[in-house]
Structure formats: C-alpha cells, structure tokens
C-alpha cells in the first residue's frame, strides 16, 4: 500500500449548532500539535441553529495553506447536504458517514471509498440523554478518524483534558466516546487509510490563531484604551478578544479597576463617534466593523479626515453588497474604505495577510493615526479574521514607545512662539495639536468639520479653504512614506503579480503551479495605502502586472490606476469573489489564460 502522508483536505459537513465546531477544531489542533501545518476554514451560515455548516482542514507538509479545490475525505454528518457533499469528493476520495441507516442507492458513488460507521447505533446503549448522544456523535467520529488517519491518540485525549479543564466530569465521557469511535475503526474499518498523518517538525515555533484575536491583542499592546463597537460578523470576535485579554492584562494591580473602556454602542455611527470623541481627547481608540459598518461610519470618517482626529478601524471584510453573504469572505471594501465619505477624502489603509500582521498592524495603526492625525483602517477579512491559521508567534519589543504624534504639552505651549492648530510648521502637512484641558490660557481651539484657517478660526475664505485642502494633500504624501513597505520578490521577470491581504495564502502554491507551466512572475505584496514608491517602481519595472483581487470590480487595480495614474492596459486583473477564499488553482488558471490570450512568452521561450 502506498501511503500519502500529511497532504489532504478533509471536510466536515455538519448541522449548525450541533456542537461539531469544538470536535472539528480539536481535529485540526491535534494535527498542529503533531507538528503538521494545517489551515482551517469554517464555512458557516448566517444562522444559529439548523442550517448546514462545513469545516475544512487543509493538511499540507509543504506549507501550502491556501484553500484548495476538491475534498479528499468527507465526513458527511448532515443529511440536508448529503447529495452535494458526496458530489464534492474527488475521485478516489473517502466518504465517512453514519450508516446506522443504510445509504440510499442514488447517493452512492462507485469512484469513492465508502467508510460507513453506525455512530448513532453505537451511542444508543452508551448515553441515555438525547442531547449528549447528539454531542458525542462528533467525538465518536473524531475517535474513528484518529484510527483511520493514524493521529496520535494521546494528543487528542490531551486536547480533551485541556478543553474541559475545570469540568472534570466531562472529560471521562468524552474520552469514552473517543474510544468507542477509535475501537470501532480499528476493529471493523480499514484503519489506517492510505492517506495518513505522521509527526513532523514543519510547524516550528508557529502558533495556530485567528486574525481577530491577534488584532485584539495588538490593540492592547498598541495602547488602545477605548474600544467602541457594534456587533457585526465577521468582526465581532476582534472586539471580544480585546475585552477578554484586557480583562486579564489591563487591570490595576491594587484595585482591579480597568485601564480601558469597552462600549458596545447602539450602532456603528455611535461606535465611530465614540472613537473620534476619545481620539480628539487624546485616548487611543478603535472600532471593529465590516462593510455595512464602514458605510454607516462614512460621514464621521469625513469629519475625522477633515478635522484631523486620530481614529483606528478594523474592517473585517465580508461578501457584499448590502447584507450580501455575511458569513463569507471578500476583499470588497477597498474603494469604499479608501474614499469613505463625501467631499475629497482619502483614508490610510493597512492590509494584513497573517495573524501576526493583524497584531503588528493593530499597534502600528494606533501609532499612524496619532502621527498622521487621521483615520487608519486595517483591512482584514473573514478568511483571516475568523479562521485559525498558522502564524509566526506574536512578539513585542519592550523598548518600543508609542508614537503619540505632534501633541503639545503645557510646557511646550509656553515655549512655542505661536500656536496655530493647522499651521504646517514642519512642511509635512501635519500640524501640532493640543488636547483639551492642557493649559489655562494657551492652545485651546475649536475643532470643526467646516472650513477654518491655520488658527482653527471659522472662515469661508476661498484661499484659506484651498490652502487647507492642499496641506491635507501634503499630509497624504507624508503618509505614503510611513506605510509598511510592500514585500517585493523579483528575479527580473518581465511580468509581475501584485496582491494583498489573504491572497498571499495561496500565492506560493499558485506561483509554483505556474512555474511548472513555464510561467515565471515577480511578486509584490502591497501592505498599505497610500502606496509607497516601491509599488509604483515595481509596476514601472514590469511590462505587465497581474493584480489579484477578491472582489468583482478589481478594486485594487482601480486604486492603482487612480492613485498612480497608471495605464490600465498594464494591469491585468485576477479575480475571485464567490465568497470562499481565493485558491491557488484560481490564480493559476486565470494567469495562464491571460498568458495564452496575449501569447506572452513562457520561461523556456525566453531562455531559448
């Protein structure tokens, strides 16, 4: 028997609310603890109970962790989706199902291996409580998979013990359920299968964490003290992570009082209003939201841009427009975030690609917002925010000081010759600000969304208005020098590929697939907007650049064309927007199609 190790996609098809999530997570975590790279994707409905949900785990020794098309092992536990689930199996794949009732003939496929296990029947004499029986179904298949895939059993039992720490009476029944599944699989099924796992050291010191949790921690480390938010999928867990960890890490040692404030606001308008009020008054503050929230916050974002108030937003993007597919991923808020609000407004954006970057950018965003006195929006997405991904461990430099930007103290106010809130003293477009209550006589000014002169006095003078708008442009150019630099990997190919955020996940795999076709691409991962010089240089250096977007309208390409005045013909769009994350196969296929349509030379042809 030829055995394939550590390279498969397993899909768990469950009913939402059936308790499957913790069993499925334990499956992924067990493999991770065996040192095997895994990526999880929870494909869930906008529903609390009864609708179908899927949990994919991609297992890949080589570290390809983007979504991959096709399923090798299907754990089909949901009768509602059975037909589609069986159909999604790759030929030669394995169909694991509960055969307590026989499988209807029309559901059978001759080109896959059926692994039937009478889970319900096995549980009937073991657990009298109906609810328990339902929950333990998930644990039984986990036990069976341990035998079928050769997962180290003590790793799983260790996870159970950890999960139910403090609820010891739950540990034994769970382990018993695991044993039932494992024993049945050893006795009656062809365990282990030719697809197996084995211990590896490919994980290294990486951690398995979701982006929202990492971002919440980043906001704590970055010194945020005010979090105002309104619940919206897929961003909710970011605010919740901030609160959870702040309640552990940000309490006064003596009194237990909080060095932070979390307000669940009445809506997104209020959430951003609180953030702006706090930012104006000198507290680092943020909100977490998604596309519909950004739409609601747009008027306020214009105020913050024009009145020059620091604010940080996390936009965990989902599929729009409107309510769209609220539990599916997309990168479709680029334009609405970049230009949120009426009038000439532009906002600083950051594009994290990994949980580690969610952490780093959360802290960086707080610095940038203070330094630039403007809103900064961190553009995460559901794929990154809500799924556990392998990530470099989070690190913090204990020497790091927060950059609070140009804020004058009472002493500094007395030293400066003249104070004008909107005077461009340093030529970088950023004025000096003061916080309310600083000095009895000096530095007070009135912040407003209406036009004002350099001394913050209301004016409708056309010249003063224009000067102010031009200074804001200068500030925008300053911002471009402060963004995290794009990651560029170029070996001198004539064609490049530009991508951002979670399109990074399948990129290496896609480029390797293209290489096999004789297509070599230089690459650039954009990490911030306004774009730095290196982004335009990259485009300049290449004849053609593929721009990868997870939205229908090629929004990153539009941003590049508008902001860089780039010839649109030079930017070829690669797009995926069906609500799952982009796969290597998609990138590979679309780039190849472009190459064929444009008759671009392959590597071999260039070399010959």
């Amino acid at each position: 028997m030829t055995v394939a190790y550590n390279d498969f996609v397993i899909r768990f098809a469950n009913v939402n609310g059936s308790g499957s999530a913790s069993a499925n997570s334990m499956f992924a975590k067990a493999l991770f603890r065996m040192g095997i790279p895994v990526a999880t994707r929870n494909i869930f409905p906008s529903n609390i109970q009864s609708l179908p949900t899927w949990f994919d785990v991609r297992v890949n020794e080589a570290g390809y962790l983007g979504r991959r098309e096709g399923v090798d092992i299907m754990v089909a536990m949901n009768a509602q989706t059975y037909v589609d689930d069986v159909a999604s199996l790759k030929p030669g794949g394995y169909l694991f199902y509960d055969n307590s009732k026989p499988l209807a003939a029309h559901l059978q496929r001759s080109d896959v291996h059926e692994i039937g296990m009478p889970i319900s029947t096995l549980l009937l004499p073991e657990f009298s409580d109906l609810k328990q029986r339902g929950l333990f179904k998930n644990i039984v298949y986990l036990g069976a998979l341990a035998a079928l895939l050769n997962i180290e059993f003590d790793v799983i039992t260790g996870l159970v013990a950890k999960q139910y720490k403090g609820k010891e009476d739950l540990i034994q029944p769970n382990i018993h359920a695991l044993e039932i599944g494992r024993q049945y699989a050893l006795d009656y099924l062809d365990s282990p299968l030719p697809i197996q796992v084995r211990r590896s050291d490919a994980v290294g010191d990486r951690i398995l964490i979701d982006g929202n949790t990492a971002a919440g921690l980043g906001a704590i480390y970055g010194g945020a003290t005010v979090c105002a938010w309104y619940p919206i999928t897929p961003s909710t867990s970011m605010a919740e992570a901030f609160e959870k960890y702040a309640n552990q890490m940000r309490l006064d040692g003596a009194t237990g009082q909080r060095k932070f404030a979390v307000v669940q606001a009445e809506d997104e308008l209020s959430a951003i209003g609180i953030v702006i009020g706090a930012g104006w008054n000198g507290a680092r503050s943020f909100t977490a939201t998604s596309g519909p929230g950004v739409s609601l916050m747009s008027e306020f974002l214009g105020l913050a841009y024009f009145a020059e108030i620091p604010a940080v937003l996390f936009d965990v993007q989902r599929a729009g427009p409107s309510t769209g597919m609220p539990t599916r991923t997309q990168q479709s808020d680029l334009l609405s975030a970049a230009y949120a609000s009426h009038g000439d407004t532009k906002h600083v954006l950051l594009f994290p690609a990994t949980p580690k970057e969610c952490f780093d950018f959360a802290a960086d965003a707080l610095d940038l917002a203070d330094r630039l006195q403007t809103p900064v929006i961190v553009m995460s997405d559901l794929e990154l925010g809500m799924n556990d991904s392998l990530s470099e461990p989070l690190t913090w430099d204990d020497e790091r000081q927060y950059d609070r930007g140009k804020v004058l103290s009472a002493e500094q106010l007395e030293e400066v010759e003249e104070f004008g809130r909107y005077l461009d003293v340093d030529g970088d477009g950023i004025g000096y600000r003061t916080l309310p209550g600083t000095h009895p006589e000096l530095g007070a000014f009135f912040t407003r969304g209406t036009s004002r002169d350099e001394y913050a006095a209301y004016t409708e003078s056309p010249e003063a208005y224009e000067r102010n708008m031009q200074r804001l442009e200068t500030k925008w150019r300053t911002a471009a020098t402060m963004m995290p630099k794009a990651e560029v990997l170029g070996v001198g190919h004539k064609t490049g590929i530009l991508y951002y955020g979670t399109s990074a996940l399948p990129m290496q795999e896609a480029l390797d697939l293209l290489q096999e076709d004789g297509i070599g691409l230089d690459r650039i991962r954009v990490r911030g907007f306004p774009f730095g010089r290196e982004v335009y240089d990259f485009i300049e250096r290449h004849d053609l650049v593929f721009v990868v977007d997870q939205n229908r309208d090629a929004q990153m390409r539009t941003l590049l064309v508008i902001e860089g005045d780039i010839n649109p013909a030079k930017l070829l769009s690669v797009r995926y927007y069906a609500g799952l994350s982009i796969s290597a196969e998609t990138i590979h296929a679309q780039v190849r199609e472009h190459f064929e349509a444009l008759k671009l030379p392959r590597l071999t042809e260039v070399q010959s």
């Binding site: 991770f32 603890r33 951690i207 964490i209 921690l217 480390y221 010194g223 003290t225 005010v226 105002a228 940000r250 006064d252 009194t255 237990g256 909080r258 060095k259 932070f260 404030a261 307000v263 606001a265 009445e266 809506d267 308008l269 209020s270 959430a271 951003i272 209003g273 609180i274 953030v275 702006i276 009020g277 706090a278 930012g279 104006w280 008054n281 000198g282 507290a283 503050s285 306020f300 009145a307 461990p393 989070l394 913090w396 204990d398 927060y402 003061t434 916080l435 309310p436 209550g437 000095h439 009895p440 006589e441 007070a444 009135f446 912040t447 407003r448 969304g449 209406t450 209301y458 004016t459």
Partner: protein, 351 residues
C-alpha cells in the same frame, strides 16, 4: 461670515469668583446667531453658571452636533477645547471624550432637530450609558439653519411662519429621558436666567448625565402666533418657569413670581405668557411621579419647567465600566503594555 473675536476689555468692577476670574474669562467669541435668539441667552447662562462654580475655564470639553444650537459652543468658554461634530451625533462624541478624560467637565449642546430627530437614537443611548456630562438641548421646535421646517419637538397643530400646521405628534425629550432612566432631568426657558443658571450649575455638578431641555424660541422662524415654541406661547403655558427675560431689539420682559403659582404676562404682540413654577412640595426624587406630572400638565397645554428629577447617588458611565480614576488619556506604556513576557505566554496558549 468670519470669525469675530470679542474685545478683551473688562469692566473694572466685574466681580471676581473664587479663583479670581470674572465672567468675561468664561466667554467665547461673538455670536453669529440672530439678534434675540434664545440660544444666546443659554450661552450667557452657561458662562454665568461656570463662572459662579469657579471651575477653571480651560477644564471643559465642549461638544455639539449640527444646527444653530450646535454653533453655540464657540460663544462660551473659549479657553476650552470644543468639537463641533456631525448632525445628531454629539452624544457619541461626548461619550468618547468623557471616556478619554473623566476629569474634564463635558458640556454637550444640541438642538431639537439634532437630538429629537436625526440623533434620537444617540440621545436615548447616552441616557442609558449615564455619561457624566451636562446635556443641553436648545429647543426651538424648528430647523433654523435650513429656514424654518418643523422639528420633532414641535406640537401637533402648531403652525409655521406661513401658517401651515404641523401634522405630527411631538417628541418630549424630558419625558423620554425620565422614561429611560436619566439621573438628572430638568426643563427651563432660555429667557429665565434665574431658573436656568442654578439648573446648569446643578447639572454640571451632577455625577452622571444631566439633561436640561431648554425651550429657546427662534426669533426668525418660530416666534409667531400659532407656534408653541414662541416666547409668547411658552410664557403663556409654562408650568414651573421661574423667571423670564426676553430680549428682542434690546427690549426686555421679565417675570418674577413665587413657586407654586402661575403668572400671566402680557406680551408686546398682545399675547399672554403663563408661567407655573414647581413648588417645594414637588418631589424631585420620584421619577414615575415626575413623568406622570409632566404628561398631565402637557395634556393641559402647559410646559413644566424646573428640576424634574434627580438621583444624586446614581452610578455614572465610569462607575459602570469600573475604570481606573486616572484619565485613560494619561496612561502610559507602563500602564498599557503588558510586555513581551506576557505575550509569550499568550503564544503558548495557541500551541
């Protein structure tokens, strides 16, 4: 319109407060509102209240929304910072400002359009959050800056300047505040400085959100027969107003009457203003009683003014959130950053 600085010439005999400052130290720039606007009287009352309390004039945070009312924070306390935000959103911005620095006196000024229409949701929720601030609504029943449309506080049947009646039921912000649990609710009249100044002082010193609905007639669009927010109507139907002074073209009408009584004032246009002053027997600690009383008098076409309800022991937003006494904006890296060693422990929990 341009910014006009107020001349800094002090009257030599202005009285000094406890910190050696005069009323002039609490003023702002010259108002750009219409002459006789009730809002300017409110601003003047704020100046007087703050001066009398001897609070250093830079220790306020002034926040407003959009509208005539929301321009007024320019016209008082110019040693303090102010933020003129967006329409209907003063409450959220004030919440943030107060969360950032609990030591400043937060004064929010809004209007009836700002608080009862576009910002009604924010109004309701800041009451629930009990943010420690003074929340003033300059209530004139009309949209002044857009030239005279009805606002949601305007009474049904009341007419606009062209005689067209309002067809919709009014929203009474004071009743609403009582109903959703505000710990300080008052109503006053812009022209009644003797009542308004003590209420403002009490509101500033109240821990939690102090809401004061100030009927403040719009001389341009809502001060005619048929309006129930005119100087004339309010004076004629006020239940519990203490003292009224009314300034139009430098003419002043004053009222002076005892608590528990009504007073009828003859107005220059021939109308009558009836005031009713809440007397000492009124229980300001009975929320449900206040609500009933307000509604009953309202049914009779009377506007109750004065302190309607106060709970001096109520928790404020910071109590509820259990924040440290140090202002959050004064915390430093040492307070805020848990350090890399803790982060390594966090990493370990994700392995």
């Amino acid at each position: 319109m341009t910014f006009v600085a107020k001349p800094r010439i002090h009257h030599p005999h202005l009285p000094l407060n406890e910190i050696g400052l005069t009323r002039r130290d609490y003023e702002g720039s010259v108002s750009t509102l219409c002459a006789g606007c009730g809002h300017d009287s409110v601003s003047a009352a704020i100046v007087q209240a703050c001066a009398e309390l001897s609070i250093p004039p830079h220790r306020f945070a002034k926040v407003s929304g959009i509208g005539c009312s929301s321009k007024t924070p320019s016209y008082f306390l110019d040693k303090s910072h102010g933020l003129n935000s967006v329409h209907g959103r003063m409450p959220s911005v004030s919440t943030g400002a107060n969360l950032a620095n609990r030591e400043l006196f937060c004064v929010g000024v809004s209007g009836d359009g700002d608080s009862a229409s576009i910002g009604l949701g924010q109004f309701a929720h800041i009451v629930r959050r009990r943010v420690n601030m003074l929340y003033i609504v300059d209530n004139n029943g009309t949209y002044g800056l857009t030239k005279g449309q009805f606002s949601a506080t305007n009474d049904k049947g009341s007419t606009n300047k062209k005689g067209v009646p309002n067809l919709y039921e009014p929203i009474d912000l004071a009743s609403l505040a009582l109903q959703i649990g505000a710990s300080f609710v008052a109503r006053s009249f812009s022209g009644d400085k003797q009542q308004l100044v003590p209420l403002l002082k009490a509101g500033l010193m109240h821990r939690g959100m102090a809401f004061i609905d100030v009927i403040s007639p719009c001389v341009a669009f809502n001060n005619h027969n048929g309006s129930t927010k005119s100087y004339e109507y309010v004076r004629a139907h006020s239940d519990n107003v203490v003292n009224v002074d009314y300034v139009e073209d430098h003419a002043e009408i004053t009222a002076d009457y005892d608590p528990g009584t009504c007073e009828d004032l003859r107005m220059p246009d021939g109308s009558t203003l009836r005031l009713y002053k809440l007397d000492d027997k009124f229980d300001v600690h009975d929320r449900v009683g206040a609500l009933n009383y307000l509604q009953r008098r309202q049914e009779e076409g009377e506007v109750v003014t004065g302190l309607l309800y106060v709970d001096p022991d109520a928790a404020d937003c910071h109590d509820i959130l259990d924040t440290v006494p140090t202002p959050l904006n004064a915390l430093t890296e040492a307070d805020l950053c848990p350090g890399n060693a803790n982060l390594e422990r966090v990493n370990e929990s994700f392995r």
